[in-house]
Symmetry: D4
Subunit: 165 residues, 8 copies
């Protein structure tokens, strides 16, 4: 059984193509629902937190051509606070806490390597509780969270899987 109804899934899929597609257009494309139904369901999807519709600026087009993963080892007592502070920096586009060797993972965007290095060395590494940083350049991001579509089946059954557009 699907966790989301077929019409809802089609609405999400169309909005992944164009987040500002008018409800009338969505209804037309689906073919058998009214604009009003689309509007009602779209609102419900957002209210339930199943989907958000947002602008995503493109770092590369804005001159932030360098992407780097920075892996932090942090004093145990400071993990939560360090992770929270990381979210506040404008050049940080991703922050997570993880189990394993690394405590906090951060993605940084910068205009060149020197800017990324200066940010890691002069800002991150000096935050209280940060023990060690390791920076790795990410030359290519092939799929990002806004490409992730609601799965149609189980992961382990690749035959049932659709293709990313």
């Amino acid at each position: 059984m699907s966790p989301i109804e077929s019409i809802d899934r089609q609405i999400v899929d169309l909005l992944m193509e164009d987040g500002r597609m008018p409800c009338a257009e969505i209804a037309r494309r689906i073919g058998f629902v009214s604009e009003r139904t689309v509007r009602y369901r779209l609102d419900r999807l957002r209210q339930r937190g199943i989907m958000r519709v947002v602008a995503i600026p493109d770092p590369k087009s804005l001159g932030f051509t360098v992407v780097a993963d920075v892996f932090l080892q942090v004093e145990p007592a400071a993990i939560t606070e360090v992770a929270r502070r990381m979210t506040e920096f404008e050049c940080v586009s991703y922050v997570s806490c993880s189990m394993g060797e690394v405590d906090v993972s951060v993605q940084v965007v910068g205009r060149d390597n020197a800017e990324v290095y200066a940010f890691v060395t002069d800002v991150i590494a000096k935050i209280a509780g940060v023990r060690k940083t390791s920076t790795v350049i990410v030359p290519q991001v092939l799929k990002d969270v806004y490409h992730w579509r609601i799965p149609s089946g189980a992961c382990v059954n690749p035959g049932a899987q659709g293709r990313m557009r």
Copy 2:
């Protein structure tokens, strides 16, 4: 000099709050531009690739409560192909190539640990060219790419930095 004009930035910021905000509302909020200007600039931002407006489904709300980073070591000749194939799996929400010890980094979402483990062991690890996988559970993602706002200044000057909302 800023890489983006002030009005454009305000448009992007408002659309990051609500990607379907009508142009009239955006114009009203900015206060001194016409709806027509907003529409024109918004279209231009999208055409130039500076910004996209898209739906982003929320894995957690859909029952995909487990997030994991999977780090792959891959035969050199297979890196590009393995990365490309990773993008096709529905339970994969992120794929990148990186310098350093890890060749391809993948983020996987699953309904529980067993599903993630089965996907890594039965699917990823058996793809030709994959030498070794290492899976790390990610209990918290604090900032994601759709929270990243266009920086107002240089990374290394934290005083000039705004706060993430």
Copy 3:
């Protein structure tokens, strides 16, 4: 709400002290239940798989004085089969699959270091699919699975935690 009723918990606790304690004795120790109730609940606990009552031989008393953790890296396609085969060896007391750098973890008991080393080098390391083994001596096991009591509260609230006897 507790996942297990108070009387059941008391039965489990008493059987952790002595797995062969007669139901009459258990009833007497709890104080307000009949032997028949104890017998009924004890059977139900076992049938539901909430608890088993078993003999556990003590390796040390039998001359198996050396305990070692052996960590295996295994060809991805062979993980399940290697783990299964590990369970069949008499000197292996624990086998698990894990995420992370190690694919299969094994605990081995032996009469001396030479026996453990010979088993790892001559038996484990030669099983098809085993890429690499790393053996670590475990001088002390302070708590084992048969010491684990049903938690009375959440892990993160240490104040609510009882002591291991």
Copy 4:
């Protein structure tokens, strides 16, 4: 020469199937010993510490569906004390000290990843002397200490080995 007599071994084996099997039943199954002999030998096995008969609660049936190995690096002077404290936590099912890179190994059971992560980050990592923790999810335990049977021969002679039931 066997380290344990044949009758004793049969008693242990039967009690590994059902720790509460009555002595009369054990005697009947072995076939040529009296119930009194069984009772006498069973008591002696327990008194000498060769075997214990205990209840083992099943974490999964009680809702503790996540098992994790937590590897601790500890200040040298604190190893013994940290290991001892680990034994006291209700969600900890295994504690050992080992030679090698890791000082103390712990197995944690939790209701979900978040509970395990919170326990590691908020409790374990803050204990005095703990330098670093690394957590690995264990999706499958295939053999546990209560499956370990008294070996009939040497480890390195796989032909002489019985199968785990």
Copy 5:
């Protein structure tokens, strides 16, 4: 389009053979330029920082037969200062800062292993901010910076590449 004109490249190539080759000789070897042009262009190349002409002493000929790479992990706040101090030591021939696990990389030359070891242990390791050093002997340097010629094409097109002389 080449980043440097053909005549300039020929001048640089000839000076890489012999940095003191007279301008007249350079002109003669190129064949269609005057000594005056060579002198003018050579001065311009140096003024623009495209090339320097320098003496490079040979450590081996001077008895410094041992070359070692020393990798430093440094307190984040001290990286810049530690790197700067490293440049001042006479037995240090290379200092760089890098992303990744190592913060500062140093190349040391010495008369024998004992001298290198004493320098690392008694001097480098005691500088404030140095957490850890790791020393690796370099038995052969096959290409050094003074062998690097101005590339004639892109790296990834090996067919277009010349040979090092």
Copy 6:
């Protein structure tokens, strides 16, 4: 006893400032030697291999703004051949063989991260015998081989050490 006479050392030092300084100027600067002596000694220094005078092109001025260390693990039988082949690539400025975990160390210069990554992934990683590569960006080189001056004393006596100019 110094491994090199005082006058020779002065000649080398002056040529490290400017490799094309005329012998007359060198003689004038030293103050008590003839131009002819300088010329004789300079030739002897070069013939004996104690010093070379060469042009060193500056990668940064030529648009090669990214410097990266690439560490190679190589099949034992292929180390010598892989190292030799590395020297032939125009974007490779340094090649060494070392003891330790890494077999061959390479420094690569490129116009941007993408070029370096493409060279490592498409060229280096596909050379026969290369098992694994790890690339680290080098944001700053503070001292290079052409800054290394002939030591005036032992490494371990920092008081006796001069400063790099």
Copy 7:
């Protein structure tokens, strides 16, 4: 109770100073035993394998000034054979098998770093079954097996410990 009688210990200690000390001299130094007793006990110590008296050549005095530890990772099936072959090389002074990450540890002596590197790269690394070697220079050996004296007490009681002469 001591594992060795007091007189025997004194004999061993004196022979550790000078392995060719005549029995008469040993008897005289101990003070209350006859030469004949010394001779009898000395023979018995050697026959029982408690002690050997041997010549130990000194590599440094013979020009073998470089000592290196070489750590080998070996195909599991080849460990025993690789270790055995290592013992045959004249420049190898120590060979052991160990648990842990390294399979075989070797100590090599050579006249200079180049000889050690050539031996590791051209000989060891090419032996069938050797996967990877890592070489570490050993600048100082402070205590060697011929300095080890028969302990007078337990290791963990440092107060009871004598000093190495």
Copy 8:
């Protein structure tokens, strides 16, 4: 040319078999030298430090059946002192300083794993300056320093190499 004369080499070889072989017997075995010559040369070999003749107690025969390598990471300023102190412990049979990840390597002998573990944890790990210890059991030492014979040729020419007896 050999670094040691042929007769000296024969004397050393015979004393490696039996360190107390009388000079008359050595002379007889060599065949063309007088006892006096042997005595003279033997004394000279010892005086020049080319060879020592010593008793080597056998740990295994004395009940020290467990051999372990302990690798220490030490505060840089404490390396020399920690290494020196290690030499004083009776259960320590080898101490060296090395370049690379490990600062001080120690070999420990003990009566069982528990004794070795207690020594490492309670004694070594608590010495000031010791940051981290890692202990690896050594099940087999196949060649030790007293088996090392004076090489007859270069290491890299295995054809010229004799066999260890």
